[in-house]
């Protein structure tokens, strides 16, 4: 699983960071981004899905059909 945060949609609610600080970081302006290249280790996939489902801006997306 691989995810990304759309920087134009993100408004800094920081719900993703609260749910999974292992996957997201937030800068001083509230802008969230994925840590590393956004690859989600299997044990964090559930948290990633929760972050996607709880973002009030629907700013997090799962990248599909990514070649590893």
């Amino acid at each position: 699983m691989k995810i990304r945060v759309d920087p134009h949609r993100c408004q800094g609610h920081a719900r993703c960071y609260a749910l999974s600080p292992e996957l997201f970081s937030v800068d001083d302006y509230g802008q969230s981004s994925v840590i590393g290249d956004g690859t989600v280790p299997p044990e964090l996939e559930e948290k990633a899905h929760l972050a996607i489902a709880n973002c009030p801006e629907s700013a997090i997306e799962e990248l599909r059909n990514q070649r590893r």
């Binding site: 800094g12 719900r15 960071y17 001083d28 302006y29 489902a53 709880n54 009030p56």
Partner: protein, 403 residues
């Protein structure tokens, strides 16, 4: 607090957000409106539309071209006065009452003060404050959870950030209530505006001579496009932080304690499962969202089938949106471990509450410390319970008894 108003017959065409019954129990009214007339209208208080569905509120909040933030007050202030260069009204309260580009750069100036990192730095003082407040009433077996606790916490944290004395907390609170809670009372509204305006202008003057490490001093050190910020702009921004920093989170803490006092199983569950606090805070924010914000329509348009005109006021009822069964399963139930909760208590879009990290920390710490010392409590028997509503909804008097 609601003053006597003409009874509302048809909520779809004559709603009144200051109606006493609505303030106390808005939920059935929202349910009827969402299914019968989700965009309500009123001629009262200068006229306004009101959105009650989640999807409509989210769409309007993102449509900054059609819906401007130049007027965000849900109650029109009918105060007439001479223009005054230094009046609060002159500059508004940027960034909340601004559209881009003013909104964009003024918001960037304040956001770092409310980042996760900064907010973590305020946690110890918030916890210490909560503990001291509880020490003050623990032995008596009863407390006004609104006045003696909820109301006392956010004001002191924002005072610290602004570098103004904690000892004036009650004065600040009084001014903010005058502005928001009594927005329909011209005299009190003006008293609040002038109180905050003249106090902060004095503080701005003082910091020019003797700057500190507070937010007001930092704004005075800031240049935008090569020029220092005007005093009026600094005043507007500082006033916004004081107003928004005080009333909103206080209301959330109070509503949450009201919920726990009236739902002892939820209080017991939070005591037994402290790890639920984070999802519980989101759920309490959803179910008891305090803030409704307004927009002004920028051109004649149609929104969800409603013809709106340039200059019309539009209320984005975030609390109603957060109870919309189309957006939330079992929307009227508080489910402390609700896993999917895309609530908009802090708004959505470019005006997302800049202080949301701070509010969450304060609410979480206030509930943790309360439950640690007062795990079981109930509404005091026969005691009066007063809610305020309009722009910000929450209990103003909340007498509880324990153990």
């Amino acid at each position: 607090m609601a003053r006597a108003t003409k009874p509302v017959g048809d909520w779809s065409q004559d709603f009144d957000v200051l109606d006493a019954g609505y303030i106390e129990d808005p939920y059935p009214i929202w349910d009827v409106l969402r299914t019968s007339c989700p965009i309500a209208h009123t001629e009262r208080r200068g006229g306004a539309w009101m959105l009650t569905r989640y999807a409509d509120v989210v769409e309007a909040a993102h449509d900054i071209g059609r819906f401007s933030s130049l007027e965000v007050g849900v109650i029109n202030s009918d105060v007439q006065r001479e223009p005054d260069d230094e009046a609060l009204a002159q500059y508004g309260l940027p960034p909340i009452s601004a559209d881009p580009p003013l909104h964009t750069w003024t918001r960037r100036l304040i956001l770092p003060w409310f980042s996760h990192k900064r907010v973590a730095g305020y946690e110890a003082m918030t916890r210490d404050l909560a503990r001291r407040l509880i020490d003050g009433f623990l032995d008596t077996g009863n407390a006004d959870a609104a006045v003696d606790y909820a109301q006392q916490i956010p004001v002191r944290v924002i005072a610290k950030i602004l570098g103004v004395p904690e000892s004036l907390s009650d004065t600040f609170t009084g001014w903010v209530r005058d502005m928001l809670e009594f927005a329909d009372d011209p005299e009190r509204n003006m008293r609040g505006q002038e109180g905050i305006g003249s106090y902060l202008l004095d503080e701005i003057g003082r910091r020019k001579v003797d700057p500190g490490d507070d937010l007001i001093s930092e704004l005075l050190r800031t240049n935008h496009e090569g020029k220092p910020l005007e005093d009026g702009l600094v005043l507007g921004m500082a006033a916004l932080l004081m107003i928004a920093g005080i009333d909103t989170t206080w209301s959330s803490i109070g509503s949450s304690l009201w919920h726990l006092a009236t739902h002892p199983a939820d209080a017991a569950r939070l005591v037994a499962e402290p790890g639920l606090m984070s999802s519980a805070v989101e759920e309490l924010l959803r179910a008891y969202s305090p803030v409704t914000m307004a927009r002004v329509v920028t051109a004649d348009t149609e929104f969800a089938g409603c013809p709106m005109h340039n200059g019309d006021k539009l209320l984005m009822n975030f609390p109603a949106a957060n109870r919309d069964p189309e957006a939330f399963e079992r929307a009227d139930e508080v489910i402390l471990d609700r896993a999917i909760n895309r609530h908009v208590a802090f708004g959505t879009g470019i005006h997302r509450c800049a202080g949301s990290n701070l509010a969450r920390m304060e609410l979480s710490v206030a509930l943790q410390e309360w439950l640690r010392r007062i795990p079981t409590f109930r509404l005091a028997e026969g005691a009066e319970l007063t809610w305020a509503g309009g722009q910000v909804r929450g209990p103003r008097v909340l007498l509880v008894a324990f153990p």
